[in-house]
């Protein structure tokens, strides 16, 4: 099935830019405090997922984890087969409002 999928090559917002803009909007807080706030924000989400929970941010989206079954893998160099145990992987589903904003 050939799907026309195009990866966005364009601009990105990176973490430091997020910190900068928040610092500008919050002159009562130091740049360092804002950095700590951003760290805590993303750490809490990661911690929740690491402990098997979900994170629901209405309008933005929801983070959860999905199981990957154990499988038989192969060492590409030696060709030897190795057991890959089951594991959990992070998953994000964009919210309805987010999807609408991407397609205006």
């Amino acid at each position: 099935m050939s799907r026309h999928v195009q990866q966005h090559g364009g601009m990105s917002m990176i973490r430091s830019e997020l910190v900068d803009v928040l610092a500008q909007e919050n002159p009562g807080l130091s740049h360092r405090e804002i950095d700590t706030i951003v760290t805590i924000f993303f750490d809490e989400i990661t911690k929740q997922l690491a402990e098997g929970g979900r994170v629901e941010l209405r309008g933005f989206g929801a983070f959860s984890t999905r199981g990957r079954d154990a499988r038989q893998g192969r060492n590409p160099r030696t060709g030897a087969s190795v057991d890959i145990p089951s594991k959990k992987v992070p998953y994000f589903k964009p919210g309805k409002e987010m999807r609408a904003k991407l397609n205006v």
Binding site: R3, H4, V5, Q6, Q7, H8, G10, M11, S12, M13, I14, R15, L18, V21, L22, E25, N26, E33, T36, I37, V38, I40, F41, F42, E44, I45, T46, K47, Q48, L49, A50, E51, G52, G53, R54, V55, E56, L57, R58, G59, F60, G61, F63, T65, K87, K88, V89, P90, Y91, F92, P94, M98, R99, K101, L102, N103, V104
Partner: protein
């Protein structure tokens, strides 16, 4: 607070309140601001990359012909932009090790 169950905006704000000493109102406002800025960048067609956490990546999908699975009738699906999340190695490692 962390662990089984669902974490929400209120929990994130509570965490900022306890760890940074911001008022509850300020904490809620900051949580909202972080999400607003990320949403704004994505809405403008920018990817959002948070080191140590992951990347929110936009993809443009072309038009295609879909089918209503119930009726079998063909329906055109308009080109659209979708959002995917690619977790950082650090997050993948922490999530994979969950008991």
């Amino acid at each position: 607070m962390a662990g089984e169950g669902t974490l929400t905006r209120a929990d994130l704000a509570e965490s900022l309140h306890r760890n940074v000493g911001l008022s509850k109102a300020e904490s809620s406002k900051l949580v909202e601001s972080i999400l607003d800025h990320m949403t704004g960048a994505l809405a403008q067609g920018e990817n959002v990359k948070i080191s140590g956490f992951g990347s929110f990546l936009l993809r443009d999908k072309g038009a295609r012909v879909g089918r209503n699975p119930k009726t079998g009738i063909e329906v055109p699906i308009a080109p659209r932009r979708v959002l995917t999340f690619r977790a950082s190695q650090m997050m993948r490692a922490r999530v994979a090790n969950e008991g």
